[in-house]
Amino acid sequence: MVSILRSMWLMLKHLVVRPVTVRYPEQKAYIPPRWRGRIILSRDPDGCERCVACYLCSAACPADCISLQATEDEHGRRYAEWFRINFSRCIFCGFCEEACPTYAIQLTPDFEMGEYDRSKLVYEKEDLLISGQGKYPGYNFYHHSGVSVKGKPRGGAVDETHPVDIRSLLP
């Protein structure tokens, strides 16, 4: 008898308590910026692709779901000829982001990727590449690397001196 009354009381109390569920999808839940969701490829402050196709993300990936092919342009800038992530295999661990030396690959607070067809979960480079810098604004790998690219001559990086004159006889 006591237990029945207690159950009734609990039920009646919930008629006046505010519900915790939200009216998704009309109403979105708060997702923190460092949430590990859909993976994107970002661009550097100059608007060029950040990815230099170093293969570290694909090596770090425990699900082996990243594959790419490196190539380089006529000025020596490395980029991915194609870049593919199979999100039907991705476990959103974020190892790729951690391995990325150029802040190119980033995980974003977006999880709404449901598809009826698994093959639609295979994202190619054009699906992954965004036009902004993502979470890490301001970084440009080529301004720290020793190689020259279009717009950055030899010795033009941060913390680099001008190329030495090898014919100089000065001590």
Partner: protein, 863 residues
């Protein structure tokens, strides 16, 4: 054997080693940069610092460089000593003050000796907060990218390029911290071995430019043990592929053949695999053609595997099989085999060439034909006077001290060839004579000419400790015979005979008709169907003969992977897998049978040539190994091929196959996702003890013939090969791969002088007649490699070279055009008048489309 004490533990080492070698020989780790097993020590990088103790009672010790410390009996060092460890870490930290932040965009990353050594020394963070020094780069040709910012000044490149490879257009410039390694000005590197700089450089200053177009990290490459297909020396290689496309080739250490290095043709020739034929499966047409045929003739190929050639021989019968060599080559190869079997001279391996002190080169151009022989002869000349240094108690590994002690002394090298070959720059004496006179010259030496050069050479050969005579199948039967007589007349003299193509000796051993006889069979109407196996007949006979053959044959079934004049003339084309997609065996110039394994499974179901031939006939072979077994049973001299490498049922000590992919290979669930979501099962390889996937043993295999790559924990670069060797730089564990098939039986060499004279038709003395000689070029003369993109850039322009005297006699002028009439065909080429060719000859490039039909020295009429 001396006993050394390393960190309190006693180890035995070979006599005459240094402490760095002693450490590595015993499987211990010690970082190093400037030392290289093939180049010795110079003590430049200061990285292999250890604490060296005077004796047991010495507790203080001193820091010393292991690579400059002889491993004498009782030498006592400590690697783990805290001060030595900190010293090594500091050295790396200093190097890193200027090393750029490049690893993600550096092609060396993932197989970088600098990365490995930095990690091994425990240096992780750059504390130096000041600016980095930079350099401008140079254009060094289509093979290598130059990125000087990455340089750590170890001097390995310049030591390799100048001291070992004999190059002169590359050096070290500048002073203090502006030291620069490069050329005086931008330009293509002249050395034929420049590609090795990419492997010799411990970091990414020199990287493979061809692989940069489609770059793949070492951990993603699918690799297999292979043999170079671009000449007859049989250098061991490791081709790497990714997404079923060839990416690069690196050397595979074989202490009996090529050692650590490769020539540029072998390293960059792989690009031919991008341009292969794909055509309809016409196997039914071919089968019907064979059913209706009135006699079938099969022509094999020196660039096809032993299995494919033997399968074809079984299909058409020995009496209708031709080895696919030109008349001249066939005759010379047969002469070589009979000389080999007779045992008149000791047949040396490529590694043994490096030990010779007096070398006589007769009638061949090693640089153009078999470049690694050029390299081996250079090593022989470099090492020959080593006795001088030994007398001064300088160990062989002390590279700079040896150079100073020798003071430019070299071994003796004599050359007789129709044109000035590149080796002439280090030759003691060289003469340019006609091919027939090369043999005459050789006989002059062996029969003791009383004066002149021949007499001088004869005296030197008699004095030599390890004399050597070098010739080749391309020099002709008579020269081979003369060379063998010469080598046989001197006690202890070695003989080295090159073969033009990867399997020339293999097909010559299989035997059969010459290509001429095979064509005659067709033209006389005894047979109307021809099967051609991976052979471009237009390269091996004169153009009218080829045209007449095409006209007379009813059905020409051609199996090939590339498009050639022969495939264009074929009635039925059966595309076959390329060398990189098939398994088989080659027999190199010193009769060493070596197996090569497919890197990738066949593309688009294009099978290997042997399986095409199986389908044409009534055979039950399940794999190429069945053919090999049948061959060995049928022909006992091929029994050695069975021991050359393990069979498909072989398993590693962990009872697994050997994995072609590394354990870090990436992208498995993504690389095919654009085509299918099913994640296809990795292709099975029932033919070999290797697996196409990463599933299998990753440890060094017990059999050295199936080493798919050199890798060891902490050693990602090719320097990991030290873990695969008994002693560093010496033999691999399990012996160097390959088995020599021929042994000397002591029989007299068959010498048919009349036949030999046929190989050198003499000019009739008519004023307009001249010797027409094909000259092999490293880039352009070999059929497959000339299709490569990078090598294609370096093919010289087709020109006919002639001596001023001959030019004057024939009324030819420099820059004019020579129209040469021979064997019923005419070729016309621009003329280059130069003194570097013999009088009475006109030298044209071999194997160029402009010179098809010039298969051997012949007599031409100048129009």
């Amino acid at each position: 054997m001396p006993t050394v004490i390393i960190d309190g533990i006693e180890y035995e080492v070979e006599q005459g080693r240094n402490m760095l070698e002693a450490v590595l020989d015993n499987g211990l780790d010690l970082p190093y940069f400037c030392w290289h097993p093939a180049m010795g020590s110079v003590g430049a990088c200061r990285l292999c610092a250890v604490r060296l103790y005077r004796d047991e009672s010495d507790t203080q010790g001193k820091i010393a460089m292991a690579c400059m410390t002889p491993a004498n009996d009782g030498t006592r060092i400590s690697i783990q000593d805290p001060e030595a460890t900190e010293f090594r870490r500091c050295v790396v930290e200093w190097l890193m003050t200027n090393h750029p932040h490049d690893c993600p965009v550096c092609d060396e990353g993932g197989h970088c000796h600098l990365q490995d050594m930095t990690t091994m020394c425990g240096q992780t963070y750059r504390r130096f907060r000041f600016k980095k020094r930079t350099y401008t780069n140079q254009y060094l040709g289509p093979f290598l990218t130059h990125e000087m910012n990455r340089c750590i000044q170890c001097y390995r490149c310049v030591r390799f390029y100048r001291d070992l490879a004999g190059g002169r257009d590359f050096n070290v410039f500048g002073s203090r911290n502006r030291i620069y390694f490069g050329r005086q000005r931008d330009g293509v590197l002249e050395s034929e071995f420049s590609g090795n700089l990419a492997e010799v450089c411990p970091t990414g200053v020199f990287t493979d430019k061809t692989s940069a177009r489609h770059y793949t990290r070492k951990w993603d490459l699918r690799t297999a043990p292979s043999v170079c297909i671009h000449c007859g020396l049989g250098c061991n290689t490791i081709p790497g592929s990714r997404y079923n496309k060839m990416r690069r080739i690196e050397g595979r250490f074989n202490g009996d053949v090529n050692g650590y290095f490769l020539c540029d043709r072998g390293r960059y020739g792989y690009e031919f695999s991008y341009d292969t034929i794909r055509s309809e499966n016409a196997i039914d047409d071919a089968q019907n053609a064979l059913k209706e045929a009135k006699g079938v003739v099969g022509i094999g190929s020196p660039r096809a595997s032993l299995e494919s050639n033997y399968a074809l021989q079984k299909l058409v019968g020995v009496e209708h099989f031709s080895a696919g060599l030109s008349e001249f080559e066939q005759e010379a190869a047969e002469q070589y085999l009979s000389v080999f079997k007779s045992g008149t001279a000791q047949m040396l391996s490529l590694a043994e060439v490096e030990l010779a002190d007096v070398v006589v080169v007769l009638g061949i151009d090693p640089t153009g034909e078999a470049p690694m022989l050029d390299f081996a002869i250079r090593q022989a000349m470099r090492k020959a006077p080593m006795e001088v240094a030994r007398k001064l108690n300088i160990p062989d590994w002390d590279a700079n001290a040896v150079i100073n002690a020798l003071n430019g002394a070299k071994g003796k090298l004599y050359i007789a060839a129709p044109w000035s070959i590149k080796l002439q720059e280090i030759a003691t004496e060289a003469i340019n004579v006609t091919p027939a006179n090369v043999a005459v010259f050789a006989r002059d030496i062996s029969r003791g000419a009383v004066d002149g050069l021949a007499s001088g050479i004869s005296t030197e050969l008699a004095k030599a400790k390890k004399p050597l005579v070098v010739t080749g199948i391309s020099a002709g039967a008579d020269t081979i015979l003369a060379a063998s007589e010469l080598a046989g007349s001197i006690p202890g003299c070695g003989l080295f005979v090159t073969a033009p193509e990867a399997n020339t000796l293999g097909v010559a051993m299989l035997g059969g008709q010459s290509i001429r006889q095979a064509v005659d069979t067709i033209e006389s109407g005894q047979a109307d169907t021809l099967i051609v196996l991976e052979n471009d007949l237009a390269r091996r006979m004169s153009s009218p003969a080829f045209a007449s053959l095409v006209e007379n044959v009813k059905n020409m079934i051609v199996l090939d992977c590339i498009e050639t004049q022969t495939t264009r003339a074929a009635t039925t084309i059966l595309p076959v897998a390329t060398f990189f997609n098939s398994d088989g065996a080659f027999v190199n110039n010193e009769s060493r049978a070596q197996r090569y394994y497919a890197v990738d499974p066949p593309v688009e179901d294009i099978p290997a040539a042997w399986s095409r031939i199986r389908d044409l006939g009534d055979f039950t072979w399940a794999g190429y190994e069945d053919i090999l077994r049948e061959l060995a049973a049928d022909r006992p001299e091929f029994a050695g091929t069975l021991e050359a490498a393990p069979f498909a049922d072989w398993r590693s000590t962990a009872n697994r196959k050997i994995a072609r992919e590394t354990h870090r290979s990436s992208g498995r669930t993504s690389k095919d996702a654009n085509r299918t979501m099913r994640e296809p099962q990795p292709p099975d390889d029932a033919q070999t003890p290797l697996a196409f996937s990463m599933e299998g043993d990753q440890n060094p295999p017990a059999s050295s013939a199936v080493i798919p790559r050199f890798w060891w924990p902490g050693w990602n670069s090719n320097a990991a090969s030290n873990k695969y060797q008994k002693e560093v730089g010496a033999e691999l564990h399990g012996g160097n791969p390959g088995v020599r098939l021929l042994t000397a039986s002591g029989s007299e060499p068959e010498a048919d002088r009349d036949k030999a004279s046929v190989s050198y038709p003499q000019p009739a003395g008519e004023s307009k007649e001249i010797w027409l000689i094909p000259r092999p070029y490293i880039f352009g003369s070999e059929e497959l490699s000339r299709r490569g993109i990078a090598i294609g850039e370096l093919i010289p322009p087709p020109e006919a070279a002639i001596h001023p005297q001959s030019a004057q006699k024939l009324g030819l002028t420099d820059g004019g055009t020579a129209e040469l009439d021979f064997d019923g065909q005419t070729i016309s080429l621009p003329i280059r008048v130069e003194e570097s060719v013999a009088v009475g000859v006109i030298v044209v490039p071999m194997g160029f489309p402009e010179t098809y039909g010039v298969t051997s020295p012949t007599v031409a009429r100048v129009k």
